[in-house]
Amino acid sequence: MKAFEVVTEPIIPQLYADYVLRPEAGAVTLFTGHVREWTKGVRTLYLAYEAYVPMAEKKLAEIGREIEDKWEGTSVAIAHRIGELQISDIAVVIAVSSPHRKTAYEANEYAIERIKEIVPIWKKEIWEDGEEWIGDQKKKPKEEIV
C-alpha cells in the first residue's frame, strides 16, 4: 500500500491506521465513507466511482502535506476506491495520528472536506430509475422524486 492511493480492491481501513501510528501518537482517527442506501429519499442501488488516478493521488498527498504542515506532529494516510461499490462498501478511508485527540479529529475532518473540493474523483449514483454523475448541482436527485 501507499500512504495516498486510489485503489480498485476493497479498502482495509486498519492498514492505514497502522501506517500512521507512531510512539508519539496519543490519538488516531479513522474515517470511512460508505455507500449509503438512501440519499434525500432516493434509494441508491450502487455507486460507480471514477478518478483521474495520477492527479488524484497527487492531490491526496498534497492534502496530507497540508495537514502535516498545519498541525504539528500529525501523520496522514488516505485511500479512495474506484469502480462499482455496493451499499456499505468503503469509498474512502482517512487515517490521522496526532499527539493529542483534538487535532486528530480536526485534521481528519479537514481532509474529507479538501477531498471533496480538489481531488478529481467522481461518483455516479445508480438508482432504480436511472443514473447520474454527481457533482453538477443542477442534476442532483430531488426530494420530490419519492
Binding site: 478518478a51 471533496k116 467522481w122 453538477d136
Partner: protein, 77 residues
Amino acid sequence: MIELHYFAGIRVLTGIPKESVNFSNQTVEDLWKWADEKYPGIRNSSARIAVNEEYALPSDVIESGDVVAFIPPVSGG
C-alpha cells in the same frame, strides 16, 4: 500535439474519454474556446482545466506534449 482527457459528466458530453489534438503555445482560455465550439455546452459545465495534473489559470500557456484534463465538479468521498 496535446493529450485531452475527459471525465465523468464531461465524458458523457464529449462521447470519448480522450483525444490528441494539435494545440500549442495557446492559453487555457483559448482551449476553452476551442472546446466549446467542438463540444457545445462544455464551458457551462462548471468544469476546471488541469494541465499536467495541476489546476490551471485561464492565462496559463499550454505547450506541445502537455496532458490536459477537463475536471467536472468533483464528487469523491
